[in-house]
Amino acid sequence: MENKVAAVKMRNITKTFGNITANDKVWLDIYKGEILALLGENGSGKTTLMNMLSGIYFPDEGQIFINGREVVIRSPKDAFDNGIGMIHQHFKLVDVLSAAENIVLGLREKGKLDLNAVSKRITELCEKYGFDLDPKQKIYDMSVSQKQTVEIVKLLYRGADILILDEPTAVLTPQETDKLFAVLRNMRDAGKTIVIITHKLNEVEELSDRVAILRRGRFVGDMKTSESNAAELTNMLVGHPVTLSIERPEPKDPKKKIEVKHLSVRNIDGILKLDDVSFEARSGEILGIAGISGCGQKELLEAIAGLQTVESGSITYYDENGNPEELIGKDPLEIMELGVSLSFVPEDRLGMGLVGNMDISENMMLRSFRHGKSPFLNRKNPYALAGKIIKDLDVNTPGINTQVRKLSGGNVQKVLVGREIALAPKVLLTAYAVRGLDINSSYTIYDLINKQKEKGVAVIYVGEDLDVLLELSDRILVLCGGKVSGIVDGRSAQKREVGLMMTRVGGAKDGE
């Protein structure tokens, strides 16, 4: 890596959207045959910067040099012609087509479309780099990690030399992540240049050769990964020192709050989403729920909140005096009034719980409009609550009367989680509370959850980041394909162990 050749040089790149500057005079070098980690918080402009390299956006100012030659990249096609390919967080694949058909889509090769020849070339590529892919398999039959493989092979098939991956591990299990990293290393060794956009420090340390850091649209610095450490990187990332460990107070006087027994749930298509799930959640304790996305997490929370029809089993709620109450058969409002509160952050963040076109205080009212006797709404209390949440959680908004739709993702989440917590629940169900949030906001949310736990609330926390689950939860319930793969102690569990349980019921198999 000593005599490095710059594959890409970005000079003075500036990009503004309206009056927001996403990138401000960024200088970035990407060297041939290296894995560069582009690190930054949400909104730091890392995706925007790479989108300019891959032709999605066009820079307002600045120059891009590829292999020493200045180029103008106006469209994804221009990027391809320069050997640049990018894999976005949302895959661009056609579901009903096979892998091979997706890979050749849009390629204007000469001659007849010969899918067998295409498949052969794909297989060769797979063997070269160590992918595992069946060219004839349909996309809708594939797991997320297989779809990602198709995207990578698609770029390689087109002869891309510079691959950009936007948060590639966000949706993968630890095992799949290991596999992806192995493949990426193979590709680097074969001379490809790889950029991964991430905000996970451990990935930077594990995979990358060099790391470049962006903060608020500006380039902060770059360094060799081997010469850096997590604390230093975080300081550069955030701009001031932060402590990186999540607190985990010991549960105080845990008592049974929710007991789920033999719960089975089918979705509309008749597919079994939860299969004989049993567990209990205790007050003053955080029960983490781990699992690959779509393994029944959503159905489980919805069943407890009364939003999902249950096929069989029971969900019992215990009040302060330990009196049991069956939740199945109650409607969501009754369950909410018992003190069970659900804050579910779906992928699009707004889909559940908040109304985008209403302002913050009106969204507070969604939970309180039934209270009070007069036919008119009480607007004062929600307004005060909105003000309090904005202050306490440091919500970045022009005002209380701003439509929620206009806030950035992290702030929307703070509003949602803040509102649910303000209900002073006995049981707090949260899913993906920190989805897509940067480090600072995430820690604010963890703090909030911990405070609830200390108050004696039973918290059920569905998360996608295993590291966080392991640091935050007292116990972890692992779901795999709708079945309980196991319940482990959060303090002693190992990441690999949980990862294996996520992919296979019961966890480790012989030889692994």
């Binding site: 469209s75 994804p76 096609k77 661009k92 694949l93 056609v94 579901d95 009903v96 087509l97 058909e101 050749v104 889509l105 849009g106 204007r108 090769e109 007849k112 479309l113 349909k138 809708y140 298509d269």
Partner: protein, 330 residues
Amino acid sequence: MFDLVSFIPRAVVQSIPLLYGSCGETLTEKSGNLNLGIPGVMYTGGICGVIGAFLYEQAVPAAEMKAVFAIGVPLLCSLLGSLIMGLIYCFLTVTLRANQNVTGLAITTFGIGIGNFFGGSLIKLTKSEVPSIALSATHKYFAAQLPFAKDLGWFGKIFLSYGFMAYAAIIIAFITAYIIKKTRVGLELRAVGENPKTADAAGINVSRYKYGATCIGSMIAGLGGLYYVMDYACGVWSNDAFGDRGWLAIALVIFTVWRPNVGVPASILFGGLYILYLFIPTGMLLSVKELYKMLPYLVTLIVLVLTSMRNKRESQPPEALGLSYFREER
């Protein structure tokens, strides 16, 4: 005894307009455009052919008519008429991003209006006694059979007793199926109909594919109207005689799960069901006849139920069907 030898040819001639219509509509829907204007497009295709044939018959005495023009003029007029309808539909839904259902229904109303207006005008011009125009000279050319077909008994009757447009329909259906399934253009067309965003990102011109597929689809469908007048109806145009064949063609698209090659046997089945009441002794009960006429729709409903229950992704409509594509929309 059920008379199969006379039943099959009648089912086939009944099926050809449906095959044209459904083949054109399948091609259109593969691009993500749900053209409910097909009945109007077919009607327009028919009347434009009639206008062309009428003008040619008026201009040239029957004895001096040449086959090339007798067929070519109505054919070109028909293609042009349905192409214009397709272009109107595309301009509204692709360029202006109007709602496809509303636009389609408007096209149907519009097309039938055009047909009836010009049909009525021509009938007035000819000052005929009956409310129809007979273009028997043109019909002769459209219905011409192979000279030896009549000598081949039942074989000739079942396989060779049709005009050239019937065979053309089957060939077009197979070609369309091949293009959709096997070629690069077909692959890109399917991608446009399934996921225009992905297609766009792959460098495919979404609008061009939508325009292309819809206009060619409309032209194919319009031929169904032409065949109906010139061959099936013996060159006789009367207003509203075309009936509900356009809707049946759209039902056929669903029935064939978006495969034009399946459309060949399926349209013959539909044609058979459509005329089954003529072959089954129902006595004097007209109501029973009307019940038999329901059969094609009933079968379509059953197919819809079955394909939904099997839940196979390949038998579902294109995913972006009925949705306008706008690149900047998130």
